[in-house]
Symmetry: D2
Subunit: 340 residues, 4 copies
């Protein structure tokens, strides 16, 4: 049996789109077919939504993206005003981004491990596996505990996930776990600094859930922190009302995709006349034939009155391949130059 150290020795490194000018490459793809052409069109729609200074860009994240080496992209989007709000699954924000901010890493698994035949060994070593990537479970437990500590420090009342995640940003600053103090950079901190709200509609479904369960368990009948996902929905809807022109950059599907699309309807329910999302891009490998939300086309979303169809594009690709090209394209074309 290998040791933990032997297995956890080759860290995931986050790609830096600032280093790779892919403009000519993506432009060439525009005249090809299939996914490459779709990707080029998606990149140019993202460019277009950034050049539209009215447009509030909502980034939607599902899947294990941070552990896969995409963290720096999201940080760069935040710091360069290329995104105005984020809706994500909990894993990306807490178990992965905040986890790395605490000083921990994700590790490249040896190719054989992803077949699953060694999972019993991993179990014994307290190593968790995400397909081809490994995590030290003991470090993850520290992350859980940290979220409990943060919960304990908050007012015992319903919070939106956005409020809680903001508190996580404040915690990182307070603890010096930030670049200026020698720490590693994180989405949570960059968003905190730049006032970019992060919403996690299923917030208990991640490391923070463990912290919150521990918190609520300890409080018993005393007042306690709760996470109100209706409040999240209300807050994001108000952003839409305040800033009617919006565009979606969606990686994967799931709850974040639906949540962000639904705010158009929610505004309507509140009696406000909010237009459909004007721009929409989604990168996914989900198959349309399962009828699920992740794979549902943006055209389908237009039947619900959620997404306009003039500027929408789905890209059928695993995200680690497509996202560096889509975002790198917009970045190197300086599409964000005039924002903020």
């Amino acid at each position: 049996m290998p040791t933990k150290q032997e297995l956890l020795n080759n860290p995931i490194q986050h790609i830096d789109i600032k280093q790779h000018n892919v403009v000519a490459l993506v432009d060439a793809m525009q005249q090809m077919a299939y996914s490459s052409r779709d990707l080029a069109r998606a990149a140019s729609i993202y460019e277009r939504m950034l050049r539209d200074q009215e447009c509030g860009v909502i980034l939607c994240l599902a899947g294990s993206l941070i552990s896969a080496g995409l963290k720096q992209i999201f940080i760069d989007l935040i710091r360069n005003h290329m995104v105005d709000a984020i809706v994500s699954t909990g894993a990306n924000i807490v178990d992965q981004d905040f986890f790395e901010a605490l000083g921990f890493k994700h590790w490249i698994a040896d190719d054989l491990l992803k077949q699953g035949t060694e999972d019993a060994t991993l179990r014994e070593l307290m190593i968790d596996r995400i397909y081809d990537t490994l995590i030290d479970e003991e470090e993850l437990r520290i992350c859980d505990e940290t979220t409990e500590k943060i919960a304990n420090s908050l007012d015992p009342r319903p919070h939106s996930s956005r409020e809680f995640i903001k508190a996580m940003g404040a915690y990182l600053e307070k603890e010096g776990k930030i670049p200026a103090k020698g720490g590693v950079d994180s989405m949570v901190y960059a968003a905190y600094q730049n006032d970019v709200p992060i919403f996690v509609p299923a917030f208990s479904d991640c490391s923070a859930g463990f912290g919150l369960v521990a918190h609520q368990h300890a409080r018993q009948d005393k007042p306690k922190v709760s996470i109100d996902s209706a409040k999240d929905f209300y807050e994001l809807t108000q952003l839409k009302i305040a800033n009617p022109t919006t565009g979606l950059l969606m990686i994967g599907g799931g709850v974040p995709k639906n949540f962000a699309q639904d705010i158009v309807v929610a505004a309507d329910v509140l009696g406000m006349d909010a237009p459909m999302h004007k721009y929409a891009v989604q990168i996914t490998v989900a198959d349309v034939r399962d009828g699920a939300l992740s794979s549902s086309t943006l055209k389908e979303a237009s039947s619900w009155g959620k997404v306009d169809t003039t500027y929408e594009q789905m890209v059928y690709s695993e995200a680690t391949m497509a996202l560096p090209l889509v975002t790198g394209y917009a970045y190197h074309k300086q599409a964000h130059a005039a924002r903020q």
Copy 2:
């Protein structure tokens, strides 16, 4: 342009597994290959978990399953003690099951519509599309409003989604929207009658979200109903602690799959020694190579200490094809005979 009536005239009808004895068919698949063999093994694992009278069966639902004609299966599972708790997306429970309980229907779309080229027409007619199925958006708005009414009737405090959904069951009973009063049967009502808890971890991400936003908007600074998903997690974890032997029957992946798996870890966080889920079956078309939770193997889950690997099986199939066979098999083998 067709009229709404012309497009909404062929209703989805829910398959009744009680009418189809598939035991011999599924047994034959056991000696074949690929998905059919996997399906047969999944069916026999589901049979096995039902025969294990200690075993609490947790049903996990993602995707648009009720609109697809699978509702009666879930009702039958509840009424025949073939499921002890349910974790679902909101769409299945509120927009689809509760929606039908209110007297509305889902409609079969003409084959051409699923290409998306007629979505602008659907928009004009206030018809929403789920791939090859249609919904009257005006009826869906009534469903939203009903959830607002229910929210208004509740104590202004944090509720688990389970509590809210129970109130929805009570509402159906009170309003006579139940079989005994000539209404149609529903999961929400069957679960209410049979004390089967239903959890929806991202509860605002569905029709109920609209109702809750309206409720919170109306209350302004007054005390209001909130939905505490940490409470859901805590409650489900306590079920696990009270009833340590558990099995998962998962349709699709998403938040419900992760949420149900995580309670093993949550029990541990609370200092209780809960065993991994002993049995696990998942039906999905998600592709393992995207590294996301939906597609992650049950072997991978064992590296996290969540699922035991002795009795686990994934079936790669769209659910409308596989689920009638898996559940029909267990039903006609009377695997549940001795339960409760």
Copy 3:
């Protein structure tokens, strides 16, 4: 290391659709959504093409279907006049069907083997793996050699694959490897008896290829058997011309799908006015977004003038699950009652 006997002890058994009346089940799927509805429609189109007594039914096979337990279905289709011509990959016809006719079997692999981590062991044991199924390589070599023997016995001239496969049927009869003599039944023999032509457009790409290479190598500059795939194409086109109304039942895609579709154009090239295929059904898991032939829609084929769009249906499903339902439906509705 396990022994060969230990690994090869649980044989694949072929499903017998005659034992499973799935008519009510498939009829129920007609009112559901997604793949089940598509499957029900495909089954009723297959029923319809059989009831059309003018219609010549062409069965197209790709993938490893015989090794997967579907052999008896194809035999039953042949013996019940539910198919008039077959276009297949070589693997199905030679490596798998003829191989079993020679007295060999396919074996169920232990679940772990399909991860590929034990392939070095299999190599050492001379066991070949097809995903979750095993083959004794030494037996396969006997199959190769038998095709060489058959090649040696033929006129040294260009043959269509159809002629060669007919000679394989004659060989089985001569050797007594047929049910009447205690042998196992096979497609090759059933087709031989019933005069159903079998075409394999890429005939050297299978066990027969090894036999033919050995044959040609031995002959050196002497006259030798060659396989003329243009002749196959010409023969199948002539069938189309003689019998203009045609329907396609396609399992998987690949060369057989394209080959059978192309005969409409070939007839046109020969100056004959052959109509498009009137009926077409395809079962596949190929994804349309790769732009390849296997996944291309039957609507797309209509742009090429190959397939009429009134009665066409693709079913997105792995074949071992869908095919027993599609063919069993037509069989138990006695759609073939009036044929021949």
Copy 4:
């Protein structure tokens, strides 16, 4: 109804990897996860096989790759000694590459067309569709006729597809349809000039099939050209025997993948001791769970004794996205510098 000119006005343009230095980008992907990491490993294996001067590189092509804008890549591989033999489907070589050499183009389809709802219009206009790309069917008929002309010019005996394709190269030269005479460049011509053999094991399954059927029809009982795919197999096997160290670069799967893998066994059948393919890379979106050849892992191929597992990598990606990166990486690292 639009006119043909209106629909066919935006040509596919072939990507030129020589213009895009992707080395740093691909190197960054090496430390990420999922498909990007697989892609980076595949690129480095391709680099490694080129640096191995003993290694004969066999390029395998399935899917519609030329029509998708990948032609120039293959031409560059040929002209830079980055490939030593090619096995392909007929469509790529005849209907697409040779077709373009004759002076014709592929056209970008408007996004709506790929939904298939306009295929009847395309039919009327004699426009053929490949997913999101269009072809003038009248031009394709000229391509068919040209292959007939070439068939007519050949010795009336069995030919390997390699011989026929070489004659196509000679035809292009004779007709001046080559860059030096103002024509466009093509794989067929580049391979002709550089003595790179091209094999198409199912040669009648493409435009050439129409030409050959017409040829054979006209010849009636007179001696005629036939295409002997056994000869192809024999010839490729002899290449393997002459040059034992081999590597495979496979785009898509299908017949070419199997054909090229099988030569290891064929050499063995001829009594020669040929080693397994030492290197193997495949780019595909095929799903392993269908048990078919396209999706079968390279580990599985090792159980058949066809592919060594030390340097093998599958990349799950649509080819237009992955191939420019894999080949561009090797090209810009000058991996081929010392070849020939």
